[in-house]
Amino acid sequence: MIVSLKILKMCCSHNTEEKSVPLTQSTEKFDMDLIKGMRFFDPHVHMTSRTTDDYQAMADAGIVALIEPSFWLGQPRTGVDSFKDYYSSLVGWERFRSSQFGIKHYCTIGLNSREANNEALAEQVMEMLPLFIYKDGVVGIGEIGFDDQTAAEEKYYRLQLDLAKESGLPVQIHTPHRDKKRGTQRSMDIAIEHGLDPRMVIVDHNNEETVKEVLDRGFWAAFTIYPFTKMGNQRMVEITKQYGPERIMVNSAADWGISDPMAVPKTAALMKLNGISLADIELVTYRNAITAFAQSGQINETDFITAIDQSARFEGNSILRGGQQPRIDKSSIIIS
């Protein structure tokens, strides 16, 4: 029986149209033992939209660090202070929230393509960006690029590429849902035109249609494992087999849509079941993302061990220590 489910699909900033999608027909159970002892880095996940349950599950599955790109929040902001508070929360409150679960939180800062279309507001946001991009733990300009591929989107994409070049930060490019192949090509052409080294550019949301050109031109190719609208992880296994692990990375882009913050560890498990070597799995689910974004000078792997900065550690009081948030027994009717 095929059941249809209406969902609003708006992942990582973009499609708002309603779609009919088949209800999942999953049969295979995710066996955590498969990935026991492995470490993961999710270079694209919108934790602001996720619960503490997600943080706990991610930490349990071995995710030690993540990158939260700035994006749109499901509805347009109407004033520059909303952007300011959002960026502040990415380097403030959300970073703290993550540290409580033992996960090191980084972010990329940028004006997303959708909101670039509000030019009056976009101007003000551009003025404010330099205040945030030099903050500790900001590992890139992102996610920026095209949505509708309008002139305004192109204008602010170009301005932010210049900002990235000036600040020496990597760029995290969102590629559009519609007219994807063309949009991806244009994004790369413009980046080259602005003098960016492809090694400093992570092209996100790739699929079978875009990957070859992205890799051939020397860019990093990120793949978002996201149900229904982006990549499934079985397809990801095939891509990794075909192209090898070099300059490829996997992320969840989990947000306020139906998405899965466990996408990276689940994909690693599926790769293992399909005979991909542990060394290659490590590259696409951990190492490559670090290599790419560490070009910002802002990622230090020794921070992952404690998951929190030295300054967050102090004698005696342990409530801030990574992974030591109290657990509740969800199966119990008693809440104490």
């Binding site: 703290f96 205040l131 500790d136 030295q310």
Partner: protein
């Protein structure tokens, strides 16, 4: 503020001993900043220059700091935090409004560790009364290390907060399981209203079957009889 020049010298001596020569030269060039752009960038970029190691402070310095600024301890500070505080002590502006706006802007765009440094700098900012509301706002934070920057070994709250804000800070320290004994000025700022609130809180904890921090009774005992105190400690709150 009379103490500050001497304290900034102690700070700069400690910083110098904790970082490389290159980093020190860069920091030293930030002395006497007078424009907001320079203070913004020096403040933001600090950990890239200094690293984030815990500051090594010998006992001699520690004693000196205590003499100059009673209540202050920097023994758990990181080098970027100390250096950021130092840079803030270097920034001056004769225009009070401009000074206020610059510092406030740092607060409102601060990442987590920047917030810690900013609240640690409260005792050393110019125009102490300007920061009372900001300090009270910090006490509303839910970020543990930010609360600790205000609560632990920081002389600003005891010296500047009005009673209601002070009481809120002490109550929040209990509420968030902080080490209350690290708050400076507990004895001087103890007051009857705080005791009343704490007794009420103890009553609620007791009713919920939760533990009561012993420090709570220390702040209550001045304001009740020995008999009342003993009764409450045994869980009898009907006075």
């Amino acid at each position: 503020m009379a103490n500050t020049p001497k304290l900034t010298t102690i700070f700069s001596d400690i910083i110098k001993e904790n970082i490389t020569g290159d980093a020190w030269n860069w920091i030293y060039a930030q002395s006497n900043i007078t424009n907001s752009f320079d203070v913004n960038s020096a403040f933001a970029i600090m950990p890239r220059k200094t690293g984030k190691a815990l500051v090594q402070v010998n006992n001699q310095y520690q004693e000196l700091i205590n003499t100059v600024t009673p209540g202050l301890s920097i023994s758990n500070w990181t080098i970027d935090r100390l250096s950021r505080v130092w840079v803030l002590t270097q920034y001056q502006d004769v225009d009070q409004d401009k000074y206020f706006r610059t510092i406030e802007n740092l607060f409102s765009t601060a990442e987590m560790n920047e917030q810690v440094a900013l609240y640690s700098a409260l005792p050393f900012l110019y125009y102490p009364q300007l920061w009372v509301k900001r300090c009270a706002e910090g006490i509303r934070s839910n970020i543990g290390i930010v609360l600790e920057a205000i609560m632990y070994h920081n002389p600003y709250p005891a010296e500047n907060l009005p009673e209601a804000a002070w009481n809120q800070m002490v109550l929040k320290a209990f509420f968030t399981d902080k080490q209350v004994n690290k708050i400076f000025g507990l004895d001087n700022r103890a007051n009857k209203e705080l005791a009343r609130i704490l007794i009420d809180y103890a009553r609620e904890r007791h009713a919920a079957g939760r533990e009561i921090n012993n420090m709570l009774w220390y702040l209550v005992e001045k304001f009740v009889t020995g008999q009342q105190l003993n009764k409450m400690k045994q869980g009898h709150f009907n006075d």
